[in-house]
């Protein structure tokens, strides 16, 4: 009887732990999305200040928002990360072109 009780307690505890882990995971995904989206938005804003935003960054941000609205946080995080990578590439482009454009000039 003691063993049965112990097993039940262990099972209950395990179930509670798993449930708690799943809920933490779900909440974490939404928080992850918010963090990833905000980082992507900040990078895109920086690209805007350099007058060099890309249309694909805006599209990836829109995809992220749409996925988050549908509760698909994994996809929302992936799209946000893609948007951030694209925005960072556009910043790199604008920064390197400050001097690199001269190589194309007709002289």
């Amino acid at each position: 009887m003691k063993n049965v009780m112990r097993a039940s307690i262990i099972s209950l505890s395990s179930a509670l732990l798993i449930a708690s882990a799943i809920s933490t995971l779900a909440a974490g995904s939404e928080a992850d999305f918010k963090a990833a989206y905000s980082a992507a938005e900040a990078a895109n804003k920086e690209a805007g200040a350099l007058r060099n935003q890309w249309t694909v960054t805006a599209a990836a941000l829109a995809d992220a928002k749409k996925a988050a609205d549908a509760g698909n946080f994994d996809e929302a995080v992936a799209s946000s990360k893609e948007a951030e990578a694209l925005a960072k590439a556009s910043i790199f482009q604008a920064t390197s072109e400050k001097e690199a454009w001269k190589a194309l000039e007709i002289r």
């Binding site: 007058r51 249309t55 694909v56 805006a58 482009q93 072109e97 690199a100 454009w101 194309l104 002289r107």
Partner: protein
């Protein structure tokens, strides 16, 4: 010996001072006259069979078949409706009784070749599209969209009255004008968008080549034909529309029409085509 050392030190110090007093001349200091010469020479060498004034016909100047197409098109030009509309709009008075003619030198006739110009009061480049909207606003009218038919019609009519007149863009002795020119040049050669293209990638490195079904126009004379009827658009397009579309095609977010960068770009591109005749309104595939 000591005096000789003092003399040498003084001479050295003087030499250093003399060099320091000379303002540094950057190796890449803007020289619009040299730029325009090099620009026109580049295209003349790339297309040795073409006369300089033929560059204003864009892709239609690039091969014989296309040139024949252009000649046939010119029999019943697709921009004719826009031209008629522009003429009517131009002569119709505003509600206050004034008209576009009151806003421009020579009543706005035959002046397209002088736009854009650098306005020393404002310290900025003023394009024809911008001047037209400012004229409307000064006379209590709402401005037109820079990318739609009304603006295309007005500029089509004004270009038509300047046909054959050579571009005559001036850079006044004002450092701000030179800076605007240089900014326009930088914009033209700067790679942007996810495709990592600059204006020059298509219109300097690859004119006459195909990009999908289109034949790329040479940058030389590209604005002389504006505004244009584009079969691809099934309608007319202004310079503002052309710049914005180029940006989107390379996956860059276009700036707002008539933002400083676009005004400066138009200034640079027009200046390097000085001497080539206005041929607008034009038609393109």
């Amino acid at each position: 010996m000591r005096s000789a050392i003092h003399f040498a030190s003084a001479a050295l110090a003087l030499a250093v001072l003399a060099f320091a007093a000379v303002p540094p001349v950057a190796a890449d200091a803007p020289d619009p006259v040299a730029d325009a010469k090099a620009f026109q020479k580049y295209f003349a060498q790339k297309f040795p069979k073409l006369k300089l004034q033929d560059f204003v016909n864009g892709p239609y100047s690039m091969n014989e078949d296309m040139h024949r197409q252009w000649e046939e098109k010119e029999q019943f030009p697709p921009y004719e409706f826009s031209l008629d509309m522009g003429k009517e709009m131009f002569s119709k008075p505003f509600k206050n009784g004034k008209s576009y003619a009151d806003c421009f030198p020579n009543q706005g006739i035959g002046i397209r070749q002088n736009y854009p110009y650098f306005d020393e009061k404002e310290g900025k480049v003023v394009t024809l599209e911008l001047a037209l909207n400012r004229c409307r606003e000064t006379n209590g009218e709402a401005p037109f969209s820079y990318v739609k038919d009304e603006m295309a019609a007005l500029t089509a009519y004004m270009a038509f009255t300047s046909r054959g007149k050579p571009f005559d863009i001036k850079i006044p002795a004002d450092p701000r004008a030179l800076e605007a020119y240089q900014n326009g040049k930088r914009y033209f050669y700067t790679r942007r968008g996810q495709l990592n293209f600059s204006c020059a990638t298509c219109h300097v490195q690859s004119p006459g080549e195909r990009i999908r079904a289109e034949v790329l126009a040479p940058a030389l004379g590209i604005l002389n034909a504006m505004p244009i009827y584009r079969s691809e658009w099934s309608g007319m397009g202004t310079i503002s529309r052309r710049f914005a579309t180029c940006n989107s095609q390379i996956r860059g977010v276009p700036l707002n029409p008539q933002d400083d960068e676009y005004r400066d770009l138009e200034y640079y591109l027009s200046y390097v085509s000085n001497g080539l005749p206005i041929s607008g309104p034009g038609a393109r595939p």
